[in-house]
């Protein structure tokens, strides 16, 4: 990460933008459709995560192509890069990283501002819904492509009455690179 204080800004200045309402409403339409298709909110949470994963495994290449960053030295730097560069690049906002565990493998990503929920209020019928759950999938998918297996989930959600969005990020393992062929094939 470059040493300046807001490393995401330079990249953000150079990426193409779309209209914010179009983006927000498109995301809303996806959630709406999933609610119609699956009825159960738990199932919708799961689907959003899966869709996010499929986005993440592609988005990482776009991120690497544009962000022009060097390898993160540890997981702390990885988390910082996600909230300062990744979120800025794709959502236009940044967050903060807090609540590290002692081993440095688990932390919370805090988002105060989240463009996905601009027009959203959770009705009675959707109480268990993590409306932005796609973000978790995106992070998990992107990190998996750079050899980190993670567990990512929402623990706080403004739509549920919390003061901010909090995503819990847990590093399960770093997968070493193995020779993919057997000797005899």
């Amino acid at each position: 990460m470059p040493p300046n204080s807001r490393p995401g800004d330079a990249v953000f200045a150079n990426v193409e933008r779309v209209n914010a309402e179009l983006f927000t409403l498109t995301y809303g339409a996806i959630v709406r459709q999933l609610l119609t298709d699956f009825e159960e909110v738990d199932e919708v949470n799961k689907q959003l995560d899966t869709m996010g994963y499929n986005i993440g495994i592609r988005l990482i290449d776009d991120f690497l192509a544009k962000a022009n960053i060097t390898r993160c030295s540890d997981f702390r730097e990885t988390a910082e890069t996600i909230v300062k560069v990744g979120f800025k690049m794709f959502l236009g906002v940044t967050g903060t990283v807090t609540n590290w565990n002692a081993e440095g493998t688990e932390c919370s990503l805090i988002l105060d501002d989240n463009p996905l929920v601009d027009f959203v209020e959770l009705p009675e019928t959707c109480q268990g819904l993590y409306y932005c759950n796609m973000l978790c999938g995106v992070i998990r998918g992107a990190l998996e492509m750079v050899s980190m297996r993670t567990e990512v989930k929402f623990v706080k959600d403004v739509l549920r009455g919390d003061e901010a969005f909090e995503i819990r990020l847990k590093l399960l393992e770093q997968v070493p690179e193995e020779y993919p062929y057997k000797d005899d094939d």
């Binding site: 495994i57 592609r58 990482i60 290449d61 776009d62 690497l64 192509a65 544009k66 390898r71 492509m145 750079v146 050899s147 770093q174 997968v175 070493p176 690179e177 193995e178 020779y179 993919p180 062929y181």
Partner: protein, 163 residues
């Protein structure tokens, strides 16, 4: 494996020979030929050998590193991005340039031996051609060999500018 023959041959004046794209599982996602009159092995064997060579060479160069060399056994698995990275070797008849992204994509470009440093060119092929026309294509299945006209065209156009 169905990476077809590469797009257009740019003419015998080109200094490009061929390009391979491998994913981290060793699958050859794309094989592009500009000029390769001699090819001894079957395409599959050829691709497997190139991948194997680069995989070993990468571990070997990291192992040889006199300053930051790893302690593990030669051939021990490395984490992605660990150790130093090599970017080319040259023989009297060709030059091989290599680049690996943090996602494990390996680009191998074989050219005329007089070709200069191609690191920026390979970065361009990754960032502005592969990511733009392949990864972002919603109908492309990640980690599968691809055939993509736009990719071929843009690649051909770009390599014409290299000399």
């Amino acid at each position: 494996m169905q990476a077809g023959p590469g797009g257009g041959v740019v003419g015998s004046a080109t200094r490009m020979r061929c390009l391979y794209l491998f994913n981290r599982q060793g699958v050859c996602l794309h094989y592009h030929v500009w000029l390769r009159p001699v090819s001894v092995l079957s395409r599959q064997e050829d691709q497997k050998l190139i991948f194997g060579l680069l995989f070993s060479l990468k571990l070997f160069t990291a192992k040889m590193d006199p300053v930051g060399g790893g302690k593990g056994q030669l051939g021990a698995a490395q984490l992605q991005g660990q150790g130093c990275s090599f970017h080319s070797f040259r023989t009297d008849t060709y030059k091989l340039s290599f680049m690996e992204t943090p996602t494990g994509l390996k680009l191998v470009l074989i050219t005329d031996p007089k070709m200069g440093d191609l690191r920026e060119a390979m970065k361009h092929i990754y960032s502005s051609i592969y990511v733009e026309y392949v990864v972002k294509n919603p109908l492309y299945t990640p980690d599968m060999p691809f055939k993509c006209e736009l990719f071929n065209q843009n690649l051909d156009n770009y390599v014409k500018t290299l000399s």
